[in-house]
Symmetry: C2
Subunit: 323 residues, 2 copies
């Protein structure tokens, strides 16, 4: 199996390639080669699998063609301009997130013949927008409130259309908010959801800008990588025309997060959280999904984290102990 990954230098891309190179197989078959693309050089792959590194702007002419030239059996399309940047730069967001995705699909189409790769597209909860029910069903309308969300929703529509036409065997997965995200805090409105766990577990103070009853939808990085691999391996025949899936997750309030932190890191960890209400962040975050009834994905075998405490323990195991 040849495996291509766009956005291979990102957090999920690196963890995905790491997991695949360790197992050496996907969908029950040995991996014969990687094609890894990003705008900066992806980390070198440990192990014997032959790896082609491609470094360019994803939206540059020829980038999509280069990724698919060797006819990879599986394409993980993770590359994207993130939410804040897509909002700040309309042209860049549409160029990378819409035109780039389309270019990748068109590059597959141009190869023609019997070539019909599994195409795993990472979509986002940003495809949903208020007004939202407390628990969102699988057939709820996509009504994004950001350009990033609009572009992801348009990508889902193309993945479904190109799948229906037999050009790809595609699946779009709407990942929950990844938590605990390793690394540094960033300027994303969602940053505190990971920060209030990660910083205290590293002995560093962390600011909580919203009230403790704020509820959101989470998956650990480990669960997210499991989702990506499962999306590459599952039988798509039972999906019919449904090529987009909201993935299962853990619905937790900030209070639930703090309770889990208490169990894992004790009182001293919790004491490092400082409440500092920020009306702007509160307003943004309060329009986000709180929970899903992700029945379809559960039936298809996607396995979520069990509890928020498990999410915290995965962070400790994968990022603190192993690091």
């Amino acid at each position: 199996m040849r495996v291509a990954v766009s956005g291979a230098a990102g957090m999920l891309g690196r963890k995905l390639v790491d997991r695949l190179s360790k197992s050496g197989t996907v969908a029950g078959k040995p991996i014969s080669g990687f094609v890894l693309h990003d705008i900066v050089a992806p980390t070198a792959v440990n192990g014997p699998i032959k790896t082609e590194m491609l470094v360019s702007d994803f939206s540059a002419a020829g980038a999509a063609e280069a990724i698919v030239a060797s006819q990879p059996d599986i394409i993980f399309h993770l590359a994207a301009v993130v939410s804040g940047e897509a909002e700040a730069d309309l042209d860049k967001g549409y160029r990378v997130n819409l035109d780039g995705t389309r270019a990748l699909l068109e590059a597959v189409r141009k190869l023609g013949g019997d070539y019909r790769p599994r195409f795993v597209f990472t979509s986002s909860l940003a495809v949903f927008g208020a007004p939202l029910p407390d628990v969102i069903p699988d057939d709820f309308i996509l009504r994004p409130l950001s350009s990033y969300g609009a572009q992801k929703a348009m990508g889902e529509l193309m993945v479904a259309d190109y799948s229906r036409r037999g050009i790809i065997d595609g699946i779009s997965i709407r990942l929950p908010t990844i938590c605990v995200r390793p690394g540094k805090p960033n300027k994303a409105a969602s940053s505190f959801y990971s920060g209030i766990i990660r910083e205290p577990l590293n002995g560093v103070p962390s600011v909580l800008p919203v009230s403790k009853d704020m509820r959101h939808w989470f998956a650990s990085p480990r669960a997210a990588i499991g989702y990506l691999v499962h999306a590459a391996e599952l039988d798509t025949a039972p999906l019919g025309g449904i090529r987009s899936l909201t993935l299962p997750g853990v619905s937790a309030t900030v209070a639930d997060e703090i309770e889990a932190l208490h169990r894992v890191g004790g009182e001293e960890a919790v004491a490092l959280i400082r409440e500092e209400p920020d009306a702007t962040i509160h307003a943004i975050v309060s329009t986000w999904p709180k929970a899903f009834d992700a029945r379809l994905a559960l039936d298809l075998g996607f396995v979520p984290d069990k509890t928020f405490e498990e999410i915290v323990r995965i962070y400790c195991h994968d990022e603190l102990i192993r690091a």
Copy 2:
């Protein structure tokens, strides 16, 4: 008010321009000029309103810029490659229906300044696809089963995104199936829905390819023109982020259609319908929406036909008596 219409030579485009030129006003203000665009020359406008005729391929370079150059206050974007052609020619469908719509939005954006026109985009029931509930709510997922439907859904997402960003004041309206469509039968799978009324009322035999319990969602051309004008005039402030509306219609079975034909045209008209089951057409049509709970559009003042009989009488009045 300056009014631009793309697809102005089509059935709806002609009726829309006819109605606007007769009233001479829109949104309570006099119309000072029309900009009419189509790939063939739109019919000349009767009356004193100054009219600029533009004839070109909608997807050609410069077409979008020419349509918006005079900064029309209202843009009716009706131009589209129809369903069958968009399915047969993937490139052409995406070029006109997606890239063309985007070019029009970008042409508005490039004009910049305070220019922020009302933008009325005709979407379609083709954005919905099976599995569907019997009565589809306003917040049901868009899951098109045709490239045309995918392109219309992507257009809706762009209209909403460009509206949210303040570039246009946009609204996408999902029109019911237009019935009774004037003119000749065509190769569309939906052709019989109009044909079994139109042909008998003109003394011509007509074939019914599906069973009489098949149910679908209809609006007369007159109601559809009312929808377009109302979409141009309504206050969009209460819509918030919701920029796409499923419009109200009449849910009727083929049996309901035949009963209405009987009341209007008598037994001799009904006798001209010949049942000739066609499994292919039956299969296509049976995946289509049967009815909507179009609460939002009703609350916003969109006024549907009252009954299928009214739809038949509108055909007689507008197409047979006036013609």
